[in-house]
Subunit: 420 residues, 2 copies
C-alpha cells in the first residue's frame, strides 16, 4: 500500500548531505510550499515539490492523505532522555522552590539516589508499564524516535531491568527507542568512597554483559565534579568501544570539568548539556564529528543559566536539541516546548531549532542515514502540525493536561467517555 500526502502548506524535508548540519547550515533550510510526500512500505518513496512527487510513477493509485494546508516535518528525534523511573520527584521540586540546596535535598532522602532506590524496588513489568504510558505522550508530542538511558539502577541487575523495559516498549509500540547504558550516572551507595572500584565494575562487568545481550547501542557517562572524572569517562568509553558501544558524554553541565574535549577525543557520537563550555571546547566540537546536544529544558526547570547556543552555532558546531526528560530536572516530554525555550531563552531561530530536533538529533544517535529527514529510502516518520507556518511550532507554548473539564455542570472537554 502506498500513501500520498498532499496539500502540505509548508514541507520541511531537512534533506541534505550525510553529515549533521553545522553552523550556518542549520539556518539554511527553506519550506517547500505545496509539497507532497509519497510513502511506501514504511519508507519515504519521494518527498518534495508536489509536481515532482506526483510525476513519480508510483504516485498513481496511492491512497491520498490531505494535510489540510498545514506544516509537515520529520518526526522529532529526541536524542537524550531518562524515561524509565518509578515516580516523579515532587518533594524535590517543592523543596527546591522553598530554597533547599541540592545537598540538603539529597540529605533528606531526595535526589538521584532516591530514584535509584525506587527503580531497584520496582518490578520490570511496572517499569515497562510506566515507560509505555510515557511513550504515548512522546508520540502525541511529535517525537517518533527517542533515546532512552538506563542509569537509575547502578548495579548489573537493575541496569539490565531498565534496558529490558526499553527494549520491550521500543519493540512493541510505535515509539522507536534507542537504548543507552548509563551505569556511570552516579556512584551507588554500596560503593560510597570506592568510586574507582565501581568504575571497574562498570567497565569489566556491566558494559560487556549489556553489549553481549544487545540491549544498548551507546554507553554514556556523567562527567562532573563529584561524579565521574575525565579519566573515568575515558575508561568507560574505552570499555564501551571494545564492546561495540559508541560513546556519549554528559559534559560541563554544572562545572567546566573537561568532559567535552574527552568526548571529542574519543569520537563520542555526542557531548550533551554543555552549559559551562568555554570557547576551546566549542571549537573542538566544531572541528569534530561529535554533535553538541543542548538540553535547555533542565536549565529552565532548575532555573540555571542556559548554554550559549548562538556561540555554538556561530563557531560552526552541529547542535542538537533534546528534552533530557527525567523525574528530577526535566519533567517534559515535549520537544516543542524545548524549541520554545531554545528560541526565547537562547536566541536560536525557529528553523535552527527544527534542524536541531530532527536531522541533527538523528545524527546524535548515529541514525543520520535512516532518520531525521524526509528523503527517499529513509523511514517514513513524519508529523503534520496544527500550524500553517512552521514558526508557529516554537512560537506557541503550553499544553493541555486536563482529563475532563466541567463548566456550569456540563462536561465541555474530555479525553474519555463521560456521559452526563
Amino acid at each position: 500500500m502506498r500513501h500520498l500526502i498532499v496539500n502540505i502548506g509548508q514541507l520541511l524535508t531537512m534533506a541534505g548531505g550525510d553529515r549533521p548540519r553545522r553552523g550556518k547550515e542549520m539556518g539554511a533550510v527553506h519550506p517547500i510550499l505545496d509539497g507532497a510526500v509519497l510513502v511506501e512500505d514504511g519508507k519515504i518513496a519521494a518527498a518534495g515539490f508536489k509536481d515532482l512527487v506526483l510525476n513519480d510513477g508510483r504516485a498513481r493509485g496511492s491512497r491520498i492523505i490531505d494535510a489540510g494546508g498545514r506544516v509537515v516535518l520529520p518526526g522529532f528525534v529526541d536524542s537524550h532522555s531518562h524515561p524509565v523511573f518509578a515516580a516523579p520527584r515532587l518533594d524535590d521540586f517543592e523543596s527546591r522552590i522553598r530554597g533547599k540546596t541540592y545537598e540538603e535535598i539529597a540529605a533528606r532522602g531526595g535526589g538521584i539516589l532516591s530514584t535509584v532506590d525506587k527503580v531497584r524496588g520496582a518490578t520490570q513489568s511496572a517499569l515497562t508499564a510506566g515507560l509505555q504510558a510515557r511513550a504515548a505522550r512522546f508520540i502525541e508530542a511529535g517525537t517518533t524516535t527517542l533515546e532512552a538511558k538506563s542509569g537509575y539502577g547502578l548495579d548489573l541487575d537493575t541496569e539490565l531491568k531498565m534496558l529490558r523495559a526499553i527494549e520491550t516498549v521500543g519493540s512493541g509500540g510505535p515509539l522507536e527507542l534507542v537504548g543507552t547504558l548509563l551505569a556511570a550516572h552516579a556512584v551507588p551507595p554500596e560503593f560510597e568512597g570506592k568510586k574507582d572500584e565501581y568504575v571497574r565494575a562498570v567497565c569489566s562487568e556491566i558494559i560487556p554483559r549489556v553489549a553481549g545481550e544487545g540491549l544498548a547501542k551507546f554507553v554514556d557517562v556523567f562527567c562532573e565534579n563529584g561524579y565521574f572524572s575525565v579519566e573515568d569517562a575515558r575508561q568507560v568509553l574505552a570499555a564501551g568501544a571494545k564492546a561495540g558501544l559508541r560513546g556519549k558524554v554528559h559534559a560541563e553541565q554544572l562545572s567546566l570539568s573537561g568532559g567535552t574535549q574527552a568526548a571529542v577525543g574519543l569520537n563520542a557520537v555526542s557531548a550533551d548539556h554543555l552549559e559551562r563550555c568555554a570557547e576551546p571546547d566549542i571549537l573542538a566540537l566544531a572541528a569534530s564529528g561529535t554533535v553538541a546536544t543542548l538540553l535547555p529544558g533542565s536549565d529552565y526547570f532548575l532555573s540555571k543559566p542556559y548554554p550559549d547556543a548562538r556561540k555554538f552555532i556561530d563557531l560552526g558546531a552541529a547542535v542538537a536539541l533534546a528534552t533530557d526528560f527525567n523525574p528530577g530536572s526535566c519533567p517534559c516530554w515535549d520537544m516543542r516546548m524545548i524549541l520554545s525555550i531554545a528560541c526565547t531563552q537562547m536566541r536560536m531561530t525557529p528553523v535552527e531549532t527544527l534542524v536541531a530536533a530532527t536531522i541533527n538529533g538523528a545524527h546524535a544517535l548515529g541514525l543520520g542515514a535512516t532518520h531525521g529527514s524526509l528523503q527517499a529510502g529513509k523511514a517514513a516518520d513524519l508529523v503534520c502540525w496544527e500550524a500553517v507556518d512552521y514558526r508557529e511550532i516554537p512560537y506557541f507554548f503550553g499544553a493541555s493536561g486536563a482529563a475532563w473539564v466541567m463548566k456550569a455542570g456540563n462536561i465541555v472537554h474530555s479525553k474519555e467517555d463521560i456521559r452526563l
Copy 2:
C-alpha cells in the same frame, strides 16, 4: 439531574472567606484525600470530604462520575488576556531572536500597531471564528473563565467589533468570557502626537458607548512611559467608574511609572504585570483590595526579568496568575504552563500557584462570590487532571501540538479521522 463526583484522589476546593487569599493564606490550602463533589443545576451543591457529601440527602440517586483517584480542582480563572486578533506575530518573534529591538520591529511594520491594522481590516465574523477556535484550546487546558480585552481597535467601531466577538463566543460556548475595554492600549496612528485628544475620545465617547451596550465589565489602561501616564490612567478609570466599569491597570511592566499606586488609589480590581514594582508599591497593594496579577508568560517569551513574586506574597499581597495570552508577547493559552513558570522562575510553591490561578483569579474579575472555589452555591466549574498529586500540575510542562503523527508509515496518533 444531579451528578456526584467520587473517587477524587485529591480535592482542592479553594474554599475560604469572601476575599482573595493574600500572603501566607495562599499557601494554607491542603488537599482533601478521597473527596466528593455534588453538582446540581450547574452549581455546586456540596463539596468536601466524601462522607459529608454522601450524607447530603440530595446525593442519593445522583449519577456517578468516577474521577479515577485523580486530582479535581476549580477550573482556572484566567483574568488577563488579549485573545481577539487576526494573526500571530511570527515575524516579530523571529526578528526579536535575530536581535532587533522593539523600536526596530515597530519601524519595520511590526509591533502592536501591526495587529491593530489587521484587526481593523478583519470582519467581525472572522474575529469571532478565530476567538472560537482559541476558546476551545483554553477549555482543553482547564480554563473555564477567561477575561478578554479589546485594545487592538483603538477606534470606536473596531473596539465594539472586538467586544461583540467576545460577547458572541462567550454567550454561545462553554468558555465564560468577561469583556474588558482596553481602548487605552496604545495611541492609534491617526492620533499620533495628539495623545490627550485620544484620551478625551476614549473617556467621552468610547467608554460611555461600550458601557451603554453592556459589552464590558471593566476598563483597562496601559500605564507606561511612552504610552499612557498616571494622569491618563486616572482619567480613564474615572470615566469608567462613572459609566459603571471598574478599573484594571497594566502597571510597571517595562518601567516604574506609578500605575500600581494609581490603581490602588482608584480602587481598581487588579493591577497587572508589576515586573518593576518597588516595595512601596507592593505594600500599597497588600493594604488594598486590589489584586496583584502577575503575567510571567510574557516575561518568559520576551526573556525579561520576572516580577518578584515571593516579595509580593511575603509582604501580604493577594497574587493572581494569568496568561496574558496575546500575539505579540505571550502566545500561550495554558495556565498550567504559567504555573510551571511561576514555580521554576519565581519560586511560588505549587499550591500558591493554584490559588493564584483559581480563587484569586476570580477575585481579580470581581467574581469571588460565584467562581474560583468549589463551595455550595458557586458555579460547578471544575477540572479533573491527569494527575494523582496536585503538584504534578505545575511540575510537568510541555504540550502536544501534532495533528497527526506517522511512524514507519503508520498513523500512530491523530486528532482527526485518518484511515490508511
